[in-house]
């Protein structure tokens, strides 16, 4: 029963991770639009905002990175949910097989035992797959979190560059910096929540 619960907890937790990354992806898509708008703004602001123009490339890079991470985590998570659901069904099958009242005739192969051996070997294989896929999922989340630390730096540098631009553009450029900072925090919060969903499975 506890193996059943573990498998069920795994597919629930991993589905939660995928949904958190889906939310992070939506924010990253907004960030991508912010970056495009910022680039247009920097062009209009001219030479005084040349530095800002460069920063927009980093913002675009961060957005791309989050979208790629979300896609890859989603793929791992769906595959992991499927494995966990299969494992749950396999455990259920083994429990029911153990209740089969069967006695092999003398000199006849024990067909139930043969099935048991086969399914139990599949169970072990699924458990190994879950474990390695879980590791992969955690690594991918941690890696993305590390890479997103740059968001706060980009936000600070954006403010510095905004202060160098001509006055009429400063407000808009500062607003871009605010949006980058806010997007970074929100994405980070979704990654944190995703990570928490996996904590008890490790």
């Amino acid at each position: 029963m506890s193996q059943d619960n573990n498998a069920a907890n795994t597919f629930i937790s991993v589905a939660h991770v995928a949904s958190e990354l889906f939310k992070a992806q939506s924010i990253a898509e907004e960030l991508s639009i912010t970056s495009k708008n910022a680039r247009a703004l920097a062009v209009r602001a001219g030479s005084t905002a040349a530095g800002f123009n460069e920063i927009t490339r980093f913002i675009e890079g961060l957005s791309k990175l989050t979208i790629e991470a979300a896609t890859s985590v989603n793929t791992i998570a769906i595959s992991q949910t499927k494995i966990a659901a299969n494992l749950f069904r396999t455990h259920g099958f083994i429990v029911r097989l153990n209740k089969v009242n069967y006695q092999a005739k003398e000199n006849q192969p024990d067909i139930i035992d043969n099935i048991f051996q086969k399914v139990d070997s599949e169970r072990k294989q699924l458990e190994r797959k879950i474990s390695s896929s879980l590791r992969e999922l955690i690594d991918r989340l941690d890696e993305t979190k590390m890479e997103l630390r740059a968001t706060q730096v980009v936000s600070v540098v954006s403010r510095v560059e905004a202060s160098r631009a001509s006055e009429e553009f400063q407000g808009s450029l500062n607003s871009v910096a605010d949006k980058v900072s806010s997007a970074g925090s929100r994405i980070n919060s979704h990654l944190e929540t995703a990570r928490k969903h996996l904590a008890h499975l490790q």
Partner: protein
Amino acid sequence: MKAISLYQKGNHKWYCFGRDPDRDEKIIDTNQYMVMNGEQSIILDPGGIELFSQMLTSVLRYTTLDEITALFASHQDPDIISSLGLWDQCLPKAKLYSPWIWESFLAHFGMSNIKFEGIPDEGSSFQLGNTSLQFIPAHYLHSSGNFNVYDKEAKILMSGDIGAALDKDDAPFFVEDFEAHIPKMEFFHRRWMPSNKPKDDWIASVRKLDIEILAPQHGGLFKGEMVGQFLDWFERLDVGIAQNK
């Protein structure tokens, strides 16, 4: 699995899930629906066991497990509800609304935690948050115990297998050309629907409803005037014919 929003007004929402690109080609494509109102959600025809992972991942993008208070199974088929044993692990406090005659059959899919709420033959209503959904009888279309779900506020009728079509995996969610759609649903209706009498009764009862979207469990959804076109076509169709073409 793809998802589209069918309706949103305040905190009252409808989503449709389907067209899963990762689905095994041997498995028939299905449309799953989720209705949300405030902090409560119901999943309509949650689907087969093979689609469970994608469905769980998809619904969690819009709601939480605590908020999924109910499941609805229009009838007992495996593509409708064979995932029950897995949902049973995720939604221990939820209720399953389904035709009363299927209770002991559905329990074969695994129902240790979820509580079965049998819908009486004449139908009933269901309170979801601040709104009410109606379970509309659709017996023998195609199952002997069968219901649709009607939402008066959203003007959506989830019609189960009625209006179903066997379409391509990348077909749009909504039917775009009714005449071109007929060949995709004709065989299905002739073969799966057993008798003209319940068909005519059902058509007469749903013609009284104000329907903007008719949402079947397979294939494209009908919107606007296509709802009437479908009802007219279905009325003319002779069903219960076992010709495999």
